[in-house]
Point group: C2
Chain length 338, copies 2
């Protein structure tokens, strides 16, 4: 599929979904739309992902495109009216439009009409489907091993860890798949349940549904975790994913520089061993699972030596092997997992 | 407010909401509707709550009524068409209709029209309001002490414990209030957020909203817990309530005869000390809270002696005072809480 990614004024740093697509998706990225960086190229900013030109808008894209993906999410998840011309142009060209915003494309009359007129689809990634229900507690019955990424906070690299782990497992010959639970993962994989938007009673059930669907087709499933079990706002989602996945093993993700909960600065992160105990003891009544490895985001550290030191400390604290899957490679910890 | 309670074919045993209203609500119950028990009285079944006649339907209620409450919830939470004549009659008489079903009265064309025509209101207790959002982690800032009831499973008596605790505290001179989180609690109290129906990301936020709203008007808030932290399906809701409430103290509720998760019989309940550790260690990163007391449902035991023995064992296991608030009195453990 050939896509353009809308990332106006936020590429690359604040365009998490755009980055995820460039790095992991099986899409051919024709262009990134960022009016602030028109004329530049992706490779100038992120060297190790697929390259693409950056243009000011859909009107500057001459090649055929199958879909426009909204690759950014402003605070609040609303739709910026300045993006409307790009979405309109895409729909008029018959493209699909894919969005992970809280705002739903399907609630916009103009978009609905244009999509119908020109034969494009609107895919609101964050809109849960209607048949979700409560968990039956059966995810452990699938034949695949199930690994769940868990975190010390939001935005510490759980999605990245999940993707890298699956890639490394595939390279080692395993039949591995990601179970996507958030908007970027869902856009990248092309399917999934947006766990943070489902009815709270169905949190575990929405994870279980995906595992039951895929669990007998693969050897290894890596469930993309969300939030953190110590997060004042999002721990419910984390807990539902942990229990709904009935994981066999857990991988703890952390950012080397994180000391307090992002956006909730009065809440300090507990020590790493506390996380290990908490995730393991919370998992146990539903399904015994150990934290077997760690993923440390060291992007904020200067140089590989400092990163290695930080990883060594993290390994001591969690009692298992760890790496930074971007700076180094998820392959380093694969043995602990498969 | 003068109400009738619809409980066809399920009173008293399977009419949890009806029982809750009869026992705790500040409503004058004019009649219970149960076509299987027409001509009987409430007092013949539940001696220690307000008495009312049981009749076959709304047509048999001669007195003025302000509202009809749906007091039962069939599996699946749907609306039984055999109830329609009663709801219709109530609306034609200008009554409000209150429902905690998954099915929404507001989605029924006939009910909407009748309500509009005769001036009654439809209140779907389980429909979350539109302004819910994520928690800010500020529930602990209110002046009231916050106590949260937590449980070993669903349906072990958390709602009852919360109501009884508040009544006992009030009798002892405290200004106490319940924070209702489920349909029965909400109907009884006349307000509240149905936590199991909110968007999963807003689970903690929906609890916090209520505590912030009421927390400076009372000395003591008792948050009605839901589910259990070890429940394969509902633990997300439990976790969100625990962290959203930022409780100062926890009260562990248990059923003396429960050994496996209700409806999930392959999952054994862990030992009581495991629950204490789990709830306390999970609460701590957001807000330190100890399990200070227990509530044991001994309805399934014969005689007070057996109940006292079971309570003594429960006290040993949890390391605090416990009682059965229905068989005995919540007053017995009040000292541990206020």
């Amino acid at each position: 599929m050939r896509v353009t990614i809308l990332a106006h004024e936020q590429f690359p740093g604040r365009a998490k979904t755009a980055q995820g697509i460039l790095r992991y998706a099986d899409y051919d990225v024709v262009a990134v739309l960022d009016r602030d960086r028109a004329g530049e190229r992706v490779s100038a900013h992120i060297p190790d992902v697929q390259d693409a030109p950056i243009v000011a808008g859909m009107d500057d894209v001459d090649q055929p495109v199958d879909a426009l993906v909204i690759g950014i999410a402003p605070i609040g998840g609303g739709f910026e009216e300045s993006w409307r011309p790009d979405v309109r142009t895409a729909l008029e060209r018959g493209c699909d439009v894919i969005s992970g915003l809280h705002f739903f494309l399907e609630d916009d009359e103009e978009f609905v009409e244009l999509a119908a007129e020109h034969g494009g689809d609107l895919w609101d990634v964050r809109k849960p489907h209607d048949e979700l229900t409560v968990s039956e507690g059966v995810a452990a019955d699938v034949s695949a091993d199930v690994v769940c990424t868990v975190g010390t906070d939001c935005s510490v690299g759980k999605m990245t860890a999940s993707m890298e782990l699956v890639e490394a497992a595939r390279e080692a010959g395993h039949d591995a798949a990601v179970i996507p639970t958030g908007q970027t993962g869902i856009v990248v994989e092309g399917w999934g349940n947006p766990i943070d938007r489902v009815v709270s009673d169905f949190t575990a059930g929405a994870v279980e549904e995906m595992i039951v669907e895929k669990g007998d087709d693969h050897d290894l499933l890596v469930v993309e975790g969300q939030g953190s079990i110590v997060h004042p706002a999002y721990s419910a989602v984390t807990c539902g994913i942990l229990h709904g996945s009935m994981a066999d093993k857990l991988v703890l993700c952390h950012d080397a520089e994180r000391e307090v909960i992002h956006g909730y600065e009065s809440f300090e992160l507990p020590p790493i061993p506390t996380y290990v105990d908490l995730y393991e003891s919370l998992a146990a009544p539903v399904r015994e699972a150990d934290v077997v490895a760690g993923m440390l985001n060291t992007a904020g550290l200067d140089g590989d030596d400092d990163a290695r030191d930080a990883i060594a400390t993290f390994e001591d604290e969690l009692g298992g092997a760890a790496t930074d899957p971007i700076r180094f490679s998820a392959e380093e910890i694969l043995e602990a997992i498969v």
